[in-house]
């Protein structure tokens, strides 16, 4: 049976070149980068090389890149580190209703410990209105954190405008760019970003390695305390092979960016067009103009997401759902709710994300399978258009 993976926003396979770059650092060049002997110097050089590769992808300087264990840690560090360092200045944080749980749950943790958090609304396409940000700022605001690209609906936020507002008020601006990295052009200097979270496993690198960009001059408290790694800002023996893999993936993402965007957006557009032609009562969620190139977030009325997902899986197709029944948590997607999508539709929503390995034949197979699955489930369903 054909296998089609259309969940590149959940995670990506590691590219062979990336694995090849990593391999020597397990068995041969295993020295602890903090040690002083020759084999450790090679590890140190490898770290420096990877740091450069990640810096180049986002227009940063090497010493502004701090490796973490994942995007989640980068998010936690940014918000916890800013909250701790700036406690005397204020206790107010502004973020949005559509952030990843790494940000939302960190904010909830802080709320229970004396911080105030404003969660900005978004419009029906998932975009933050800069005027809302402006209005939410108080003299106690110490951090503004707005994601670059939403992971469910793929909406790209107006980061440059938002960062400019933060700057005008001299407030730190953080963005969770985990979904943006390698999918939209990013130049942190031009965009005016102070802190930015990244993760390797969304750009064909390994899982369990991320990074936080900290603009030169920005001071936040450390979050992992211990050894002097990462220029004394993030302790813990470095995930050497993981970092090398992240670096290689970043380099590939940089050199392939234009081609990657072209490839994924054209297949994504083809998918949406084919689905709309072949299946009734389908909605596309999010913005078509400001959108992650691989993302198609689609609602199929009258049926439920997990059921679709499982039927597709039985046909070798991997997609994801943000619906109630999709995961350990049964509450409907906070992102789709924030876009104002009615709950019954949220339950019928699937996220498809195409990636570098996706082909037109894959899409054709997915659409024809999807058509059958939707028909079958609509027959079973107790809800209908009549």
């Amino acid at each position: 049976m054909r296998q089609v993976y259309l969940d590149y926003s959940a995670t990506t396979p590691v590219k062979q070149e990336v694995v090849d770059a990593m391999l020597p650092y397990f068995t041969e060049l295993y020295g602890n980068p903090s040690s002083l002997y020759s084999i450790a110097a090679e590890s140190k050089e490898a770290l420096a090389g990877a740091r450069k590769q990640v810096a180049e992808l986002i227009g940063a300087e090497e010493k502004e890149i701090f490796f973490t264990s994942c995007g989640t840690e980068a998010d936690n560090w940014a918000v916890m580190g800013a909250a701790d360092a700036l406690r005397k200045k204020g206790n107010h944080i502004i973020t949005t209703k559509i952030e990843h749980h790494a940000m939302l749950h960190s904010c909830e943790f802080l709320e229970k410990r004396g911080y105030d958090v404003t969660y900005l609304d978004v419009d029906s396409e998932g975009r933050v209105n800069p005027a809302d940000l402006e209005a939410a700022i108080t003299d106690k605001t110490i951090l503004i954190s707005i994601m670059f690209v939403n992971n469910e609906v793929g909406t790209v936020e107006p980061i440059k405008e938002l960062a400019a507002i933060a700057k005008a008020h001299k407030i730190l601006f953080h963005t969770d760019a985990v979904q943006a990295l390698g999918n939209v052009p990013i130049d942190v200097k031009e965009l005016g970003i102070d802190l930015m979270s990244m993760s390797a496993h969304k750009i064909y690198g390994p899982k369990g390695i991320g990074a936080l960009y900290i603009r030169k001059g920005v001071k936040i408290s450390n979050y992992l305390h211990g050894g002097a790694q990462e220029n004394k800002k993030r302790a813990g023996t470095e995930n050497l092979a993981g970092i090398v893999g992240f670096g290689k993936a970043a380099e590939l993402a940089r050199t392939n960016l234009t081609e990657h965007i072209k490839h994924t957006s054209s297949l994504r557009d083809y998918l949406i067009q084919q689905v709309q032609e072949n299946i009734d009562n389908v909605y596309v969620n999010g913005s078509m103009e400001h959108r992650h190139p691989g993302n198609a977030n689609l609602t199929f009325e009258f049926i439920e997401g997990e059921a679709m997902l499982l039927y597709l899986d039985m046909n070798g197709i991997a997609v994801s759902t943000g619906s109630a029944c999709s995961s350990a948590s049964l509450t409907p997607s906070h992102v789709l709710s924030a876009l104002g999508i009615p709950v019954e539709r949220i339950h019928g929503t699937l996220r498809f994300t195409v990636g570098d390995m996706t082909t037109k034949e894959d899409i054709d197979y997915v659409v024809s399978t999807l058509k059958n699955v939707v028909n079958k489930l609509r027959e079973i369903s107790s809800v209908s258009s009549e």
Binding site: E304, A307, C325
Partner: protein
């Protein structure tokens, strides 16, 4: 996440549909909370001779509907009223903890269908005492979250 039996009932559900001129029809849940189940039954001599379902819901809800309708066909009304979601789960060979509530749907929808039958025929069943088909439909989502 589901065992083979659940997957089989989900992929090839038994008794899908609506019985025309059913003796009793019950629905439970609502699309707003993500699951809605309709069960229709034919009754002869206080025995359920046929049952069909339509379900808007996850794999576990569909599989529960399928196996529950299988189970009640051939039962007396009183036996069907005693059917618990636990028995449905057992028959399915188990469900993941977060999905236990999906089987509650089926047991409620069956009760609702029998309630409809009882209303139409003016019959009384001990097993229906205290049952309110319009009780808070969110109930089945109120189970404690997995540890």
């Amino acid at each position: 996440m589901y065992n083979d039996k659940v997957m089989d009932h989900f992929m090839n559900p038994h008794n899908v549909g609506e019985i025309e001129n059913a003796d009793g029809v019950g629905t439970y849940g609502s699309p707003v909370c993500g699951d809605m189940m309709q069960i229709s039954i034919t009754v002869e001599d206080d025995k359920i001779t046929d049952a069909k379902f339509k379900t808007f819901g996850c794999g576990s809800a569909i599989a529960s509907s399928s196996v529950a309708t299988d189970m009640i066909i051939g039962m007396t009304i009183d036996e069907a009223l005693e059917l618990t979601n636990k028995q449905i789960i057992n028959e399915l060979g188990g469900l993941p903890a977060v999905k236990v509530h999906c089987s509650v749907l089926a047991d409620h929808a069956i009760k609702s269908a029998i309630y409809d039958y009882a209303q139409k025929t003016g019959k009384h069943y001990k097993g229906l005492e205290g049952f309110d088909p319009n009780a808070d439909e969110d109930d089945h989502h109120d189970l404690p979250e997995e540890a």
